[in-house]
Symmetry: C2
Subunit: 125 residues, 2 copies
DNA sequence: CCTTGTGTGGTAAACCTCTACCACACTCGT
DNA sequence: ACGAGTGTGGTAGAGGTTTACCACACAAGG
């Protein structure tokens, strides 16, 4: 979960909640709630970027950081939402993952869907 | 897309926008915008249920109807969001589908993830 | 004890999203 | 040309979500 991640990252840096918020420009009270999952993660991408940078995340790490935030907000990550590819692949995923027919071939089909969509449209990511 | 689906379903029934809204209990002006994708699909599950029933959708059809609505809202479908299983599978999907390492083995890994999670926790869906 | 530092509760306000209402434009039959 | 019927634009307001502020509780050190 995003809230746990972000809390342990802060602790790793041996920062108090207040100090941390000061440095990143956040409200301590609100952030306390965010870390405990009482309030949702920030939706503002700018804020998330600041956080990722502050924690020195980049590449794959940063992506899954962003994903975790979106996921806890029950949203689809913005870059995924914009991608026509995933608009098509996601329903397939939902179908497969709901387990109605979670057979080997179903999964192969899903995999094929994704791959096909990728090769078809170069506008990925 | 949800908006296109819902529009063609209405047309299939040979209903004018106003008549349709009357029968389902929706505002015509707003619904006009929904059908064209100007406004987002309704988020209220009750409304979506009414729509699905009105169109005679059930089972698999209804599920993907609901998914389409959520997707266009850039949200994760409620039942998926609630499932601990899928909460874990989704990041794997995002990783794979972004295509950073969209290799055969990556996809196999994703498939395994999903299957493992399914068999591990019977609280699916 | 006081003081200082830390996290948290409660709440009001800013903010945004979605809906409902009203008026308008366009078409088509009469 | 008029009327009814159909879809759409604009906009205000309801409703919900997210943030910011203030005050409090608790702990440790002096």
């Amino acid at each position: 979960m995003f809230n746990e991640t972000v809390k342990s990252l802060r602790i790793q840096k041996r920062l108090t909640l207040r100090d941390f918020c000061e440095q990143v420009g956040l409200d301590p009270s609100n952030w306390s709630k965010v870390e405990r999952g009482v309030n949702p993660p920030p939706g503002d991408v700018g804020v998330l970027d600041r956080l990722a940078e502050f924690f020195g995340l980049s590449g794959e790490e940063k992506l899954s950081f962003m994903d975790a935030a979106a996921l806890q907000r029950k949203e689809i990550p913005p870059d995924v939402a914009d991608s026509a590819i995933l608009q098509k692949a996601l329903p397939a995923f939902f179908r497969a993952a709901r387990g109605h027919e979670l057979t080997e071939s179903e999964l192969k089909g899903l995999a094929d869907d994704i791959r096909k969509l990728h090769t078809a449209d170069p506008t990925s990511r």
